[in-house]
C-alpha cells in the first residue's frame, strides 16, 4: 500500500473534524476524495502531509509513518494545497529550485527538470518574475510543477483545478493520468464531480468527518442509475 489511513481521528477541542477514517490506496490508484464544505477533506490532507498531527490513528505513506518517520514519508510525497501560496519575494524559477532543494535533488538534475516542467506547463517568461505578480492560475501551475519536480511516488492534491484555464486544466489532467499509469498513487480532494468521475478509479465521500461512501466508478455508475443517472444527484442524496 502506498497510502494507508488507519482509524484516523482529528479533534479540535470538542469538535471532531475527522472521525475514525480508514482508507488504503495502492500504487497506480487514483483516489477521489469528495465531500461537502467542512466535511473534513482538507483536515485529512493536512494530516497526510504532516501539517496537522492526528488526535488518534495512523497514516502511512510509502510504508513510512508520517508521525514517526516524517522525513521518509514526505520524501515520497508531492503535495498540492488548496490555496497556492508561494514565497512572494522569489521568482517562479527560484521557488522551484528552493522546492527541489528541500527534496535534496541534485542541482544539475533540478535545472533539467525545471526546464522540462516549465515547458510542460507552459510557464514561459513568467518563470523569472516574482510570484507576487502571478495570477491565481500561474501560481497554481508553479505549485503543481513543484509537487511533480522530484518525481514523487505519492501525490496528495487538495482542489486541483482552482484558477486553471481550460488548456492548463487539460495539461494537468493528462499529466496526472500518465503519472497514475506510471504507478504513482494519487489522493485527490475535489469539489468537481465530473473531474472525479473522469480521472479517479476509486471514489470516497466524506461527511462530518466520516467516510460514508467508497466505491469504484463502475459501481458508482450502477448506483447513480438508481437516481436520474447523474452523479450529482447521488452525491446530493448521500450528503443530505
Amino acid at each position: 500500500m502506498m497510502i494507508r489511513l488507519q482509524h484516523l481521528t482529528k479533534k479540535f477541542n470538542d469538535f471532531t473534524a475527522v472521525d475514525d477514517l480508514t482508507i488504503e490506496i495502492k500504487a497506480g490508484e487514483f483516489y477521489g476524495f469528495l465531500g461537502p464544505n467542512g466535511a473534513g477533506k482538507t483536515t485529512t490532507i493536512k494530516m497526510m502531509v504532516g501539517l496537522f498531527a492526528p488526535t488518534s490513528g495512523a497514516i502511512s505513506i510509502n510504508g513510512f509513518d508520517i508521525q514517526r518517520e516524517p522525513i521518509d514519508a514526505k520524501m515520497a510525497t508531492g503535495y498540492i494545497p488548496d490555496q497556492p501560496f508561494l514565497y512572494e519575494k522569489l521568482t517562479g524559477r527560484e521557488f522551484l529550485y528552493f522546492s527541489a532543494g528541500l527534496y535534496k535533488m541534485r542541482h544539475a538534475e533540478t535545472t533539467e527538470r525545471i526546464k522540462e516542467i516549465a515547458d510542460l506547463f507552459e510557464i514561459g517568461s513568467w518563470i523569472d518574475q516574482r510570484t507576487e505578480n502571478y495570477s491565481q492560475g500561474m501560481r497554481q501551475r508553479i505549485v503543481i510543477a513543484s509537487a511533480l519536480l522530484h518525481n514523487p511516488k505519492v501525490l496528495i492534491i487538495d482542489e486541483l483545478m482552482v484558477g486553471l484555464d481550460p488548456r492548463s486544466a487539460h495539461i494537468v489532467k493528462e499529466t496526472l493520468r500518465k503519472k497514475s499509469k506510471d504507478g504513482i498513487a494519487i489522493f485527490m480532494s475535489t469539489h468537481s464531480l465530473p473531474v472525479a468521475e473522469e480521472l479517479c478509479n476509486r471514489i470516497g465521500i466524506i461527511k462530518e468527518g466520516r467516510l460514508i461512501f467508497e466505491n469504484t466508478p463502475d459501481a458508482l455508475h450502477i448506483m447513480k442509475d438508481k437516481y436520474d443517472g447523474k452523479f450529482e444527484s447521488l452525491f446530493l442524496e448521500l450528503t443530505k
Partner: protein, 561 residues
C-alpha cells in the same frame, strides 16, 4: 464623505471586538502589554517630572532655556513620528490587501486615502500618544497645572503637532512613489535618507544647544528672562518651536501669546492636512498602480548577491543551502526589512560615534558604576531592540507559504536552528563591535572590556533565543507585515521579558562592578574573582533563559499549522 464614516465605523467596531474563546496565552499577552505600556507611561511621567524639577530647581537653567531644550526634544520626537509614519504608511497604502479590496468598491480614491491615513496615523503613533501624555503630565505637575491645561495641550497642540508630522510623512511617501517611477526605489530612498540626516545635522547646527547654553549662561544669575533674540530666525517656522513658545508663555502667565502660537499650530495643521489630501487626490491612485510595477523583478543587480542565486550550484548541503538563500531573498526584497535595518544601522553608528568620545572615567566609584552600567545597559538594550524587530517575526513571516517547507522532508528542528544561526551570528558580531567601540575610553581596563565582552555574548545568546522562541510560540502566520508582528502584543510580552532579564543583569553585576571601581579608583589591587563569578553567573543564567526559550520555540513549531 458618508463612505468615510461608514468604513471608519466598521473599522472601529472590528477593533473593539474581542475574539471569543481566549486561551491562556491571550491572557498573558494582554496582561504583559498592559504592564509594559503602564511601565513606560509611569516611567516617562516620573523621569519627566524628575528632570523638570532638577533642571528648574537644582540647576536653575531658567524657563527660556528649559523650553528651548524642550523644543529640540520635540524636533526629535517630530522626526521619529515622521519616519515611523513613512515606513508604516508604505505598508498600509501600498501593500495591504484591505486597500486592494476597497479599490474594487465604489468609494472615491480620495476617501480611501483619508481613511487609510488615519488608520495608519493612529496605528503608528499610538505609542507616541501615550508617551506624549505621560511626559505632559510629568511636565505639568511641576507647575501644578489644572486639568484643562492637559486637555488643551493634548488636543490643540500635541495632536495637531503629531498630525503635521504624519501628514508630511505621507506627502513625502507619495512624492517618493511618484519620483521612484523615474529614478528607481533604491535611489529615491538613498536620497531621502541623506536628506533626513542632512536636515537633522542642519537643525542642530543652527540651534547649536551648547552655544545657546553658553550665551544664556552669560546672564547668570538672571536666567529667567526671555532670550528670544538668540533664536536663529528659521527655527520660528518649526511647529516644535510654536509648542515650546506656547508652553513658555503659558508658564509665564501670558495667555494671549500662548494662544497665538496654539492658533498658529491649529491653522498650520488644517492647511497641511488639506495639502496632503490634495496631493493624495492627485497622486495616490496613480502611485498605487505604479507600486504594482515596483514589485516586479528577478535577480538582484548587486554582484555580491549573486552568491545567493538559486541557479548557482550550492556550496553547502542542499536543504541548508536553499533554506539560507530563501531567508536572504525574503529579507532583501522586503523594503520594510532593509529600510528598518538601515535606520537601525544609522542609530548604532550614531551611538558608537557618540559613546566613543564620552569620557567614562568619573572620580566617584558609585557615579562611575552607574555611568558604566548605563553604557552596558544601552548596549544590551540596542541588541534587545534589534532582536525584537528582526528575530521575533522570523517564524511568523513565513506566513501562509510555510506549507512548502513544513510539508517537505525537512526536520522542523533544522528550520528552527537555521533561523537561529542566521540571526545569532550577525547579532553576536554586532554585540562585540558595540563592546569594542563603546569601551574606547576604558581600554586601559582590560578586565572591564573582557567582562563586557562575555556579558554581551550572554546577552546576544539570551535575546536571540528569547525572541526566536517567543516568536515561534506566539507565531501569527496571517500577518504579512514584519513590523506589525514586531509591534504586536506578543512582541510586547517578549519585550517585558527582555526588561526582566536586563534587571537581572543589573542585579548580578552592579555590586562587583562597584567594588571594582571603588578599589581601582583608589589604586588598590582588585581581586578579579568576584567580578568573574558574577559574570559567570550571568552567563549561566543567560544560557538557561536562551535554552528554555529555544526549547519552547522548537516545540511550538511542531504544533498544527
Amino acid at each position: 464623505m458618508s463612505s468615510i464614516f461608514h468604513i471608519a465605523l466598521f473599522k472601529l467596531k472590528i477593533s473593539l471586538k474581542f475574539s471569543a474563546g481566549w486561551r491562556m496565552r491571550d491572557y498573558v499577552k494582554h496582561t504583559a502589554s498592559l504592564i509594559v505600556f503602564g511601565g513606560f507611561v509611569i516611567g516617562a511621567y516620573y523621569s519627566t517630572r524628575v528632570a523638570t524639577d532638577y533642571l528648574l530647581e537644582s540647576v536653575h537653567i531658567g524657563l527660556f532655556l528649559f523650553h528651548r531644550l524642550l523644543s529640540m526634544l520635540l524636533f526629535v520626537y517630530f522626526l521619529s513620528i515622521n519616519v515611523g509614519n513613512i515606513i508604516v504608511s508604505y505598508a498600509t497604502f501600498y501593500r495591504s490587501q484591505e486597500m486592494s479590496y476597497y479599490l474594487t468598491k465604489p468609494v472615491s480614491h480620495t476617501n480611501l486615502f483619508v481613511i487609510k491615513f488615519f488608520d495608519n496615523f493612529f496605528y503608528s503613533s499610538a505609542a507616541f500618544f501615550l508617551i506624549a501624555l505621560a511626559v505632559l503630565l510629568g511636565y505639568g505637575s511641576h507647575f501644578h497645572m489644572p486639568w484643562t491645561f492637559y486637555f488643551n495641550t493634548m488636543v490643540f497642540m500635541l495632536i495637531p503637532f503629531m498630525l503635521i508630522a504624519g501628514c508630511i510623512a505621507v506627502m513625502i511617501l507619495l512624492l517618493l512613489m511618484r519620483f521612484a517611477q523615474k529614478i528607481g526605489v533604491r535611489k529615491m530612498i538613498a536620497i531621502l535618507s541623506i536628506l533626513y540626516l542632512e536636515s537633522l545635522f542642519l537643525y542642530f547646527s543652527m540651534t547649536n544647544p551648547l552655544r545657546l547654553v553658553n550665551q544664556v549662561w552669560q546672564h547668570f544669575p538672571n536666567l529667567d528672562q526671555y532670550f528670544g533674540y538668540l533664536d536663529p530666525p528659521v527655527t520660528r517656522y518649526f511647529p516644535n518651536y510654536w509648542i515650546a513658545e506656547s508652553l513658555y508663555w503659558t508658564m509665564r502667565g501670558d495667555s494671549s501669546f500662548a494662544l497665538s502660537y496654539t492658533i498658529l499650530l491649529v491653522i498650520a495643521t488644517i492647511f497641511i492636512f488639506g495639502m496632503m489630501v490634495w496631493i493624495g487626490k492627485k497622486l495616490f491612485y496613480t502611485s498605487w498602480l505604479a507600486s504594482l510595477n515596483f514589485r516586479a523583478g528577478g535577480e538582484s543587480r548587486f554582484p555580491m548577491m549573486k552568491m545567493f542565486s538559486f541557479t548557482r550550484p550550492p556550496r553547502l548541503e542542499m536543504q541548508t543551502s536553499v533554506l539560507i538563500k530563501k531567508e536572504v531573498w525574503q529579507f532583501v526584497r522586503e523594503p520594510s526589512q532593509w529600510i528598518h535595518l538601515g535606520i537601525i544601522t544609522i542609530l548604532v553608528i550614531t551611538f558608537v560615534v557618540s559613546v566613543a568620545n564620552i569620557n567614562l572615567r568619573q572620580n566617584l566609584p558609585f557615579l562611575q558604576t552607574v555611568s558604566y552600567m548605563a553604557l552596558l545597559l544601552f548596549n544590551a538594550f540596542l541588541i534587545a531592540s534589534i532582536a525584537l524587530r528582526f528575530v521575533f517575526p522570523a517564524i511568523s513571516i513565513e506566513g501562509t507559504n510555510f506549507w512548502t517547507v513544513l510539508s517537505a522532508p525537512v526536520k522542523r528542528t533544522k528550520i528552527f536552528w537555521l533561523k537561529y544561526l542566521i540571526a545569532f551570528i550577525p547579532i553576536l558580531l554586532m554585540s562585540e563591535i558595540l563592546v569594542i567601540f563603546s569601551h574606547r575610553s576604558l581600554w586601559a581596563y582590560p578586565v572591564l572590556v573582557q567582562s563586557a565582552s562575555v556579558i554581551m555574548v550572554s546577552v546576544a545568546f539570551a535575546f536571540v533565543g528569547l525572541n526566536l522562541g517567543a516568536g515561534s510560540y506566539f507565531s501569527d502566520f496571517k500577518e504579512k507585515n514584519p513590523i506589525r508582528v514586531a509591534s504586536s502584543q506578543s512582541a510586547t510580552v517578549t519585550f517585558l521579558l527582555s526588561i526582566v532579564y536586563l534587571t537581572i543583569m543589573v542585579a548580578i553585576v552592579f555590586l562587583p562592578l562597584n567594588g571594582y571601581f571603588g578599589l581601582i579608583l583608589k589604586g588598590i589591587p582588585f581581586d578579579v574573582a568576584n567580578l568573574n563569578y558574577a559574570v559567570l553567573a550571568f552567563f549561566i543564567i543567560s544560557i538557561i533563559i536562551g535554552a528554555i526559550s529555544l526549547v519552547v520555540g522548537q516545540r511550538a513549531l511542531k504544533r498544527d499549522y
